[in-house]
Symmetry: C2
DNA sequence: CAAATAATTATAATTATTATAAAATTAAAA
DNA sequence: TTTTAATTTTATAATAATTATAATTATTTG
């Protein structure tokens, strides 16, 4: 249920200095429309259904390109695989240890001590536990 | 310059249901005394100097044992390797992208929205950027 | 169109971590 | 103490995410 048309995504990529190849459009569209914070492999398996010839290397190449151009952010929720988020705003991620879904939380405020002199370029707040649904069991 | 004696560490492990083998003592002592948030490999290479017969598997086994018994916390700062911290309190970690050192920050306050109904069991706040030293270049 | 450039693929390489089974050590029983 | 059982450690292989490489395909440019 994306609100972006393919044409809009195309222009957006061009505006960010990325040539809008078919695969890049597809991958960015998936990140925009399915807001599930997918891993590289989830994207690969999803696109494979439509485009059986697609290669994992393309997914990794494209995600790294998007990261460098700051179109997506990397989420370090799990040790075994990276997740990606097309929402760039500063928000927290919660992973349910039962259903494995990833939820977004809005951060109202955060106060740190001792950061004077440090140049903070990246921030990530990662949480884990059990979501409301999974607790009813 | 640890303030814990080997005897104290021994008793601490026993109190936590861990048999205080030589290697376990050494590994926990390293985590306590060198507060550098080491990776498994850093611990391995350090102990190897003293005990050349030590195996990487022992390091991983022991760290996982410590994690299960909640003696250390895992820090997910980097995608390529896990770091470990014998300080269990809730605090943030900052990694300098230049010198690669990891710094602790005290968290004065944090307010999240929309967490009602969620059971939060784990929290991690990870930062990256340039430390004060490295900025003077 | 032809040449140059860029994107994609298939495949191999890398590397942190886990699994497995044998050997060594320690604890418990006799 | 000797024997036996349980635990720990080691060496090695397996796993799996990611990156590197080189060949192929597609696109752009003159
Ligand atoms: Mn998100
Ligand atoms: Mn710390
Ligand atoms: Zn859940
Ligand atoms: Zn630094």
């Amino acid at each position: 249920m994306g609100n972006w048309t393919i044409e809009e995504i195309k222009n957006f990529l061009i505006k960010n200095g990325i040539r809008p190849s078919f695969y890049r459009l597809k991958i960015y569209q998936y990140l925009l429309n399915e807001r599930t914070h997918p891993s590289a492999d989830e994207i690969f398996l999803y696109l494979k259904k439509e485009i059986p010839t697609i290669s994992r290397a393309t997914i990794y190449n494209t995600l790294n390109l998007f990261l460098n151009k700051r179109l997506v952010q990397l989420i370090n929720l799990e040790r075994d695989e990276a997740r990606y988020d097309a929402t760039l705003s500063w928000h927290a991620h919660f992973k349910c240890l039962n259903c494995n879904k990833v939820f977004d939380f809005h951060i109202e405020s955060l106060k740190l001590k001792g950061v004077e002199g440090f140049q903070i370029l990246e921030k990530q707040l990662n949480l884990a536990g059990y979501c409301a649904q999974c607790q009813k069991k």
